[in-house]
């Protein structure tokens, strides 16, 4: 079922996400150009850091939030096969988020919010930047509630039956996102916004960094989960097979919910305000968060093997060649796994207690998250959009070849951009700098590698524009789309008739998250309320000189 509301909601949300994405891509290429030895136009400190703020805000907050909301509405109707509850609330959330995104954008481009997407206090921007972000997050909270309500209504109507995996995973992400945003919301509401309004002249920076770290890791899994939903529920079907194990899918999403939260201190390994004991505890938990990804690689590999063998593939690896690589969803999955392989290795270095000192705040980190987030995650966003667009627009895809070309370009561009960027990080290139002094003998040698990265960026921009074009092509397509939207989802080899309550809801897991968060973050936050924790003076960036 895909009635008008979800169809239009998905259409509107995904277009907003991809427009923000396209604008941010252009800024990204210009930033890389500014950092290269080639002379770039318009570069001043103010334009560069405003651009990075806009690029980071669009890519980290606006694009994923709207993508995830839009995809969630689609899943809620098609996987549950019932109309979305309270579509009016969904549209209000859309309007709220859109208004917030516009407000933040205008504030950034007026030069009053050059604080980057992490806005570390006591640097303080115009309050309209923060309010814009709050509105985007508030919109996503409405979405979270709608997803939970949709699942609850379905369970009431289907007592004892297992919630379809795609919806179970979507609600897992909604629940996780509510937990995730507590940290940044507390930081914004109690520290940053009062400072921006002039109500507070000083604030506790140790506390604000700790609260932000609460959000900073789990947000990565928020971005990632739609890709995993596609891996588990859409890819086996697109490949012509079955999902190897539905239970493993449920466990994976539950593990993400549990382990992506109590690990944020690993972003503060080089910070002086947290002790080794808690850093160490959270690094240990961080290692565990790789378990659900390893489980996924196995389950999806096995599901694809089933598909390959059904299509006549033989031998140990023959099934790989027999897969329908001409289908965008299958191709994107292969490319995403390759990028995950490269990126997983890099992640190991970041996580390592010792090696982190070598790469912290160098280009290694920026390159790493471009590869995993911009690469693995975003290529699946493309594939999801291609897969659901026929149902959303009611028209068949005009050209799968153009879609495949776009995906290959993204993969190639990502490698060309990020591999030298990683290398620059190892050489010691630090991040968040507008221009480098290439006259310095140490820095001079970096130049050629930055230029290669820039070429990768241009390829990515080309791919991104082709993606937008490919979506627009649906509008001129004459061929109506026939298949029912629900046919997108794979069934399991052994579809479960019943699952234990623990695997069909989140009550138990929420209790566990609460306990873990108290253990992992209780003292690290409480310490700022003991004795007199030092306060730093607010430094505004939005005053005209």
């Amino acid at each position: 079922m895909l009635v008008t509301h979800a169809r239009q909601l998905t259409f509107a949300h995904l277009w907003l996400a991809f427009l923000a994405f396209a604008v941010a891509l252009v800024l990204g290429v210009w930033q890389m150009w500014a950092r290269s030895p080639l002379p770039a136009p318009f570069v001043t400190a103010s334009t560069y850091f405003s651009a990075v703020t806009a690029h980071g805000t669009a890519m980290a907050y606006v694009m994923p939030v709207f993508m995830i909301m839009g995809f969630g509405y689609y899943v809620a109707e098609t996987a549950l096969d019932r109309p979305l509850p309270a579509p009016r609330w969904a549209w209000s959330a859309f309007a709220l988020g859109l208004a917030g995104a516009l407000m933040a954008t205008v504030t950034i481009f007026s030069g009053r919010a050059a604080v980057l997407f992490t806005f570390y206090p006591p640097l303080t921007a115009s309050v309209f930047f923060y309010l814009g972000l709050v509105m985007v997050v508030a919109a996503s909270w409405i979405w979270c509630v709608l997803m939970m309500v949709a699942m609850a209504q379905w369970k009431r109507a289907n007592p004892g039956r297992p919630v379809p995996l795609a919806m179970f995973a979507t609600v897992a992400n909604a629940v996780m996102w509510l937990w995730t945003t507590i940290g940044v919301a507390a930081e914004l509401l109690f520290q940053v916004i009062p400072a921006a309004l002039g109500l507070k002249a000083q604030l506790d920076v140790g506390l604000s960094r700790t609260l932000f770290s609460w959000t900073l890791h789990a947000i990565v899994y928020f971005w990632l989960i739609p890709s995993y939903i596609a891996f588990y529920t859409m890819v086996p079907q697109a490949a012509g097979g079955r999902l190897y194990s539905d239970t493993m899918g449920r466990l994976t999403f539950i593990l993400f919910l549990i382990y992506s939260l109590p690990v944020g201190l690993h972003h503060l390994l080089m910070d002086p305000q947290q002790s080794n004991a808690f850093k160490f505890l959270q690094v240990a938990l961080t290692a565990l968060v790789s378990v659900p990804t390893l489980l996924t690689v196995f389950t999806i590999g096995a599901s694809l093997e089933i598909a390959g063998r059904l299509r006549g593939g033989r031998g140990l690896l023959g099934w790989i060649g027999a897969l329908p690589w001409d289908r965008p969803l299958v191709l994107a999955t292969g490319l995403a796994f390759l990028m995950l392989g490269f990126g997983g290795f890099g992640g190991l270095v970041n996580m390592s207690y010792g090696m982190n000192a070598m790469v912290h705040n160098t280009s290694w980190v920026t390159a790493h998250f471009h590869l995993i987030f911009g690469g693995t995650v975003v290529i699946m966003y493309f594939a999801i959009a291609y897969a659901i667009w026929p149902a959303v627009t009611g028209r068949a895809a005009p050209s799968l070849a153009a879609q495949r070309l776009q995906l290959w370009l993204w993969f190639a561009g990502m490698l060309v951009m990020t591999l030298p960027w990683h290398y620059l990080g190892l050489l010691g290139q630090w991040r968040r700098v507008a221009t480098f002094n290439y006259a310095d003998p140490i820095i001079a040698g970096w130049g050629p590698w930055v230029v290669v990265s820039l070429i990768g960026g241009v390829i990515l921009l080309g791919s991104g524009l082709l993606f937008v074009l490919n979506l627009l092509q649906f509008n001129v397509s004459r061929e109506p789309h026939a298949a029912a939207p629900g046919e997108l989802y794979a069934s399991a080899v052994h579809p479960p008739a019943r699952v234990p309550a623990a695997l069909n809801g989140f009550r138990l897991w929420n209790a566990l998250v609460l306990v873990l968060m108290i253990l992992a973050y209780g003292y690290p936050i409480a310490q700022f309320f003991v004795g007199d924790s030092p306060q730093a003076l607010v430094h505004r960036v939005d005053e005209r000189r």
Binding site: Q273, N276, K279, V541
Partner: protein, 180 residues
């Protein structure tokens, strides 16, 4: 479907056990590396009031730069401020354990020293302390690596690592770049 449910469950469990095993081995390797190489992030939790940093105590102007104490310990004290370091150049001896101590009166900064493992955030309210041994001599870059405002890109200092026999403290135990 030819595969029985039992086989699927068994293979998944086996793989889960392998995953947990691999992750545990990696964890142990990380712990071992951390302990053996004494790699410890700056986690000393020493509070200092950023507003009165320059008025008294360790980080007043007269105390900044490299100093050798009576018992032979080498310590460099550096203030990071929008958008410069005080001092902008410090001298340190090669092949000897040295301590770097940083503080800031204004916003968040951070440093790395190019080609070494020296890396820390500098957070207003705290002293960041790093111990290291420099093995290569020469002028190393020490840029600010956390965005601290519009002048951030230009914020950089020099760490001058000299051979031990060229490292000559004056009567008060001080060594400065321009004095050499």
């Amino acid at each position: 479907m030819p595969i029985s449910e039992e086989i699927i469950v068994r293979s998944e469990l086996r793989w889960a056990a392998i995953s947990v095993g691999v992750v545990s081995v990696i964890m142990i390797a990380l712990i071992y590396a951390g302990l053996v190489h004494h790699i410890n992030p700056p986690s000393n939790i020493e509070r200092i009031d950023p507003k009165t940093l320059h008025l008294g105590g360790e980080f007043t102007e007269a105390n900044l730069g490299t100093r050798v104490s009576g018992d032979g310990q080498v310590t460099s004290r550096i203030v990071a401020t929008q958008f410069t370091f005080q001092p902008r150049c410090v001298v340190l001896p090669a092949n000897r354990r040295v301590t770097l101590r940083f503080a800031t009166p204004d916003v968040i900064h951070g440093i790395l020293v190019s080609g070494t493992n020296v890396n820390t955030m500098i957070v207003p309210g705290y002293v960041s302390q790093v111990h290291t041994v420099f093995t290569r001599t020469g002028d190393l870059l020490m840029p600010c690596h956390e965005y601290c405002g519009l002048g951030h890109s230009e914020m950089s200092a020099t760490v001058r690592v000299v051979p031990p026999d060229e490292f000559k403290p004056d009567a008060e135990g001080r060594v400065a770049c321009d004095a050499r």
